[in-house]
Every structure is written in structure tokens, then in C-alpha cells.
């Protein structure tokens, strides 16, 4: 006269089994489908058509496409891919659906413009995306900053970069850095300082995890480059004074050229080679290094460190 305990047990057991099996099967299906999923998302590639199809739920659709863009770039980047063909259309659709999604423009400036493997290598489309953002959000100083950033970092176009930073500096509540940047761009002096300033501004002002990690990586590389240049100059001076190369950094300390032995951003000491060059000990940790790597070193595809 009670609910059958046999049926309860059988159905309950079966329910749990089915639940576990379904998860396992789904994982298997995921593995089989691989990248196919993201290829499919762009069967409708016209932002206008999508906006109409989203039946007024464009905000939600924009969020969905934003997630897709981040997922797409993240998975490709992790796999060390050289091609990011869908990144531009995904970001364009996202911003068409929601023109006020500032983080999407920022993402575009940081990852659409740079050359592969660090980005899609499409600076022109990144510039168009930023200009579209500025038209829709003229009072967002970040967008002018992003635009100047692309011109400076990828195209070394100081005139347009200065112009973009200057436009941004006139927006109410703009970061004071923009005015300084505009002036420096006009003279294009102090490359290292400028780069450091730009990356630290990005690092401090961004909300996006990937963008921040990328900026941190760049800042570390700049720090190393600064150290390597400085130490290199000291080695040259030691050579000029004593007529021979130092064996260790303590040789530099002994003659009063160096107070403290510097370490790289991860706390490792630098390496002094027998031919007097200064090198970083773990070059793989500094993807964007232009100096301080062993001769003939080929950098692996850059990855952000999740700890940033």
C-alpha cells in the first residue's frame, strides 16, 4: 500500500546511471566535434541579419557572441594557432548587437591587431572596430586609448596615435595619461618609457582577464629588456676600465659599478655569459623579449600565465 520500493530503487539507480553516462557521452561528443562547433556559429555572418533575428533580445545575443569570441580566441590561442579568422566577425557581430560593450573593443585592440600568434594580425579591422566604438560611445576615453594603442603598437604610426590620444584627452574624466601620451607621441621620444606607460595603463584600467594577463607579460618583458640594457652597459664600462670581461656580477660590485645584483620579475638572477652578454635564465617565461635571449633562441607561442 506504499509506493513500490522496488520500482523506486530501480528507477533511482537507473536515473543516476543515466545521468553519469550522459555526461560521459557528452564529453565524448565534444571531443569528436572539436572545433566544428565554433565554425558553425557563423552560418549567419551578417550582424544586421542577426540583430533582426534576435527579436529584440540583442543584449542577450551580444553577450552570447561575446562569450563565443572570448572562447574562440582563448581555445585557439591555447592551441598555438596562427589563424584567427573568425575573431573579427565575432567581435563585429558582438558590437553590432550591443554597441556599448566597451570590453569587446578593448579585446579587439589587444588581440585583433597584433601579428600572429599573439593576435589575428588584422590592425585595419581593429582600427575600424575602434572607430565604430568611438562613434557609438564618444565619451569613453578607453576607446581613444585603444585606437592610439593600435596605431602605436602595431603600425608605429605616431601621427595617428598622437591624434587618437589627443582626441581622448579632451573627453571629460579622461585618464591624465592620455594628454602626456599625446605629447610624447608627437615627439616620439623615449620608446621604452612610452611602452611601459601604455602597458601599465592597460594593466591598471582593464577589467578583462586576458587583456590584463597580456599586459603583464609585456610589462615583464620590458622590465627584463631594461635590466639587460642596463647591465650590458655596465659590462661594457667594466671592460673599458679593466680591459677584461667580468666573470660574475660581483666583479661589477667590487669596482663599485653595481650596488645590488638585479633579478628578473620572477626573482631569478640574470646570467652573465663568458663572452660578456647578459641573458635571462628562463626565456620561455618572457614571450615578447627582443633582447636578453640566448643566440638562436626561438620563442614558443606566447601564452598568458593564468596567475596574472
Amino acid at each position: 500500500m506504499k509506493p513500490s520500493s522496488k520500482i523506486t530503487q530501480v528507477a533511482g539507480t537507473f536515473l543516476v546511471l543515466c545521468m553519469l553516462t550522459s555526461v560521459l557521452l557528452l564529453r565524448q561528443v565534444d571531443r569528436m566535434r572539436g572545433g566544428a562547433t565554433l565554425q558553425e556559429v557563423l552560418y549567419i555572418s551578417s550582424p544586421g541579419a542577426l540583430k533582426r533575428l534576435s527579436l529584440g533580445y540583442d543584449g542577450l545575443m551580444a553577450d552570447i557572441y561575446w562569450t563565443r569570441a572570448v572562447q574562440y580566441f582563448g581555445s585557439k590561442h591555447f592551441a598555438g594557432s596562427q589563424h584567427y579568422d573568425l575573431l573579427a566577425p565575432l567581435l563585429e557581430i558582438t558590437t553590432a548587437l550591443d554597441p556599448h560593450l566597451i570590453v569587446a573593443y578593448e579585446f579587439g585592440a589587444n588581440f585583433l591587431a597584433p601579428k600572429p600568434p599573439n593576435g589575428a594580425g588584422m590592425p585595419q579591422r581593429a582600427i575600424e572596430l575602434s572607430e565604430f566604438g568611438i562613434r557609438n560611445n564618444p565619451s569613453e576615453w578607453r576607446l581613444y586609448y585603444d585606437l592610439g594603442f593600435i596605431y602605436y603598437m602595431e603600425l608605429k604610426d605616431y601621427k595617428n596615435a598622437a591624434d587618437a590620444f589627443a582626441r581622448g584627452s579632451r573627453v571629460p574624466n579622461a585618464h591624465p595619461f592620455l594628454g602626456v601620451m599625446a605629447a610624447q607621441m608627437a615627439q616620439h621620444s623615449g620608446e621604452l618609457q612610452m611602452a611601459q606607460m601604455i602597458w601599465s595603463t592597460t594593466y591598471q584600467s582593464t577589467q578583462d582577464r586576458d587583456v590584463r594577463a597580456n599586459a603583464a607579460t609585456h610589462l615583464r618583458a620590458l622590465q627584463v629588456e631594461e635590466d639587460v640594457t642596463h647591465l650590458g652597459n655596465l659590462v661594457a664600462e667594466y671592460h673599458a676600465r679593466t680591459g677584461r670581461l667580468p666573470d660574475t656580477f660581483s666583479d661589477l660590485q667590487n669596482v663599485g659599478l653595481l650596488h645590488e645584483v638585479p633579478t628578473d620579475p620572477f626573482g631569478h638572477t640574470y646570467k652573465l655569459t663568458s663572452d660578456g652578454r647578459v641573458e635571462v635564465r628562463t626565456p620561455d617565461d618572457f614571450p615578447f623579449l627582443t633582447k636578453g635571449t640566448p643566440p638562436g633562441y626561438v620563442a614558443p607561442p606566447p601564452r598568458f600565465l593564468p596567475s596574472d
Binding site: 500500500m1 506504499k2 509506493p3 513500490s4
Partner: protein, 313 residues
């Protein structure tokens, strides 16, 4: 062997949304129905009759207690092939015709194909619906649906039948027919357990009755035994303008209106009163039973406990 044994079935519902409080729909009920009996389950609306039947059919689970039908547990499929159930105001798949519905129920009850065909037309005939083969049930009147309900209950020739208010929705002829059917089932050795709030049906048909009120069993037994302690009342009306003293001693109540006199007497005093009136050569207009003895018993049983115990003088 007892056909139905109800062993302390209890049902409590939780009522209220925020603060749940238990509401007792059926207090522990013990009943035993013998095979071959027609058993009446009497009570006013909301007494717990339908709840009891639903528990017996396995539709509602009891809060406590158990029951056995034909010696089997309630959810035993072998037992279920041997019982028939007519719900209160039955309703069926209205996109089917009566024959299709019965065919389907025959399949579910495990009646084999050849037997099924024969039984379907037989029971349709038996309940007085021989010529409705092409009509979907959505076009059926309430009375016709009740007949279909009876038909599906007896379709598979079950040993025990449960009827919930079988007479409701039927015209007097229909009621007569259902009574005849129940008597026929009894003659064929079947057990019939039916609930009703119409006492005349029960009095005419039942070997034994149970009276239930507010979820509590108030009395059970053969009709004659139950009513031996109570008497019915009769109203007698005659022409005249005074109440004779000899009548006054017999009557429970009497009154004079214009040139008619009415008096209410117990069944037992009815003959004495009529004899008196005849001796006086008074013209008797009518003799009407006010309550049968079962009704009187029923009313007594429905009163609060202390009233039934005789606190009222």
C-alpha cells in the same frame, strides 16, 4: 475468505501553504466485506467515501494502515485483473467510441482478443447502450457516460466490484437498471462494494452497510440489525378540527390547520393511531413515512457523539 479487508486505513492531508497543518480525511478504518455480499458504504458528501475507494484502488496512498482485496496486496496486478471500478462521475477518453474504449480497457485487463469482442458487445447490451458504436464519447450525455462506466467496470467479469456513487446522474429508470444489475451480480456470486448518500438505494439492496461521517466509522452491520434500535416516523393527516386526547398520547407532535389535523407518530404507533381515527369515523387524508428507520439511524449517527449517546432528552 473475505473479499475486502480494510485494516486501519488512515489518510491525513497537509493543508495550508505556509503553515502546514494536518487534516484528517479518514480516521483508522477497519472493515471486512465478505464474498458475495452487496455492501453499502454510506455517508454524506465529504465523509471520506471516495478517499477510501481511491486508497483501495491504489490511486492514493494511505498515511497508515493497509488493506487486502481477495487476500492480495493493493498493488498486486493479479488481483487487479479481478476487480472492477466505477469512479464517481466517470469521464473517459472522449475521442474514442464506447466500443473502442471497452476494447482498450479489455486489453489493459488482459482479456484475450476473441473473448474481448464478445464481452464488449455483451456489456454494451447489458447497460442499455447497444446502438452507439460509431459515436465518440464526447457526444455522450452524463447518463450515458455513467452507463459506459458501469460497462467498463463489469467488462472483464471481475469478482469484486467497487462503485462510487453508481446512481448519480441517472434518471429513475437508469437507477432501477443499476439496482437490477447489482442484484444480478450478487446472484452470480460477485461482491459489490458501493458508496452512496442515497439511503433508499442502500436499504433496498444491501446485505450490510457501513456509515461513515467526518472520516470516522459510525456504524456497521445488517440493515435490519442497525435499525432494530430506532424507529421510523410517520405523518398522518385527517379531516377534523381538534386533536383527540387519545391521539395526543400517541403522537410525538400534532397540529391543527383549518379543517385538517396532522400528527407525527413512531412507526410502531401508526396502526394504533389509524385504528383510533377509524373508530371515530374521521376521514384520513394521507399516511406518509417521514423517515425510514435507516434514515433515522443515519441521522442519529451523524450527530455529534454526545447527542447520539442520548444527552438530548
Amino acid at each position: 475468505m473475505a473479499a475486502i479487508e480494510i485494516l486501519g486505513l488512515t489518510k491525513t492531508y497537509q493543508v495550508g501553504f505556509w503553515r502546514k497543518r494536518p487534516k484528517c480525511a479518514l480516521q483508522p478504518l477497519r472493515l471486512q466485506v465478505e464474498e458475495g455480499e452487496i455492501f453499502g458504504f454510506l455517508g454524506p458528501n465529504g465523509a471520506g467515501k471516495t478517499t477510501t475507494l481511491k486508497m483501495l484502488m491504489g490511486l492514493v496512498y494511505p498515511s497508515a494502515g493497509s488493506a487486502r482485496i481477495l487476500g492480495c496486496e493493493i498493488n498486486d496486478p493479479r488481483m487487479k485483473a479481478q476487480i472492477g471500478f466505477l469512479p464517481e462521475q466517470p469521464y473517459f477518453y472522449d475521442y474514442l467510441t464506447a466500443a473502442e474504449l471497452l476494447e482498450y480497457y479489455g486489453q489493459l485487463s488482459g482479456v484475450d482478443a476473441k473473448e474481448r469482442k464478445r464481452r464488449v458487445s455483451e456489456v454494451l447490451d447489458r447497460v442499455g447502450l447497444p446502438n452507439v458504436s460509431g459515436m465518440q464519447l464526447r457526444k455522450f450525455s452524463k447518463g450515458m457516460l455513467q452507463r459506459v462506466g458501469v460497462a467498463q467496470a463489469i467488462l472483464h467479469n471481475p469478482r469484486v466490484l467497487f462503485f462510487d456513487e453508481p446512481m448519480s446522474g441517472l434518471d429513475p429508470i437508469g437507477r432501477r437498471e443499476v439496482r437490477d444489475l447489482m442484484e444480478e451480480l450478487k446472484r452470480a456470486g460477485k461482491t459489490v462494494f458501493f458508496s452512496t448518500h442515497i439511503l433508499s438505494d442502500a436499504e433496498a439492496l444491501c446485505d450490510r452497510v457501513a456509515i461513515i461521517h467526518q472520516g470516522e466509522l459510525r456504524g456497521v452491520g445488517a440493515v435490519a440489525d442497525l435499525t432494530s434500535s430506532v424507529q421510523g416516523k410517520v405523518e398522518v393527516v385527517w379531516r377534523g378540527n381538534t386533536v383527540l386526547p387519545s391521539v395526543k398520547t400517541l403522537a410525538l407532535d400534532s397540529s391543527v390547520t383549518g379543517d385538517t389535523v396532522r400528527a407525527v407518530v413512531l412507526e410502531a404507533s401508526q396502526d394504533a393511531l389509524i385504528d383510533t381515527l377509524r373508530r371515530e369515523r374521521l376521514h384520513i387524508v394521507s399516511v406518509t413515512p417521514l423517515r425510514t428507520s435507516l434514515e433515522e439511524y443515519f441521522v442519529q449517527k451523524l450527530r455529534p457523539a454526545e447527542a447520539a449517546a442520548g444527552v438530548r432528552s
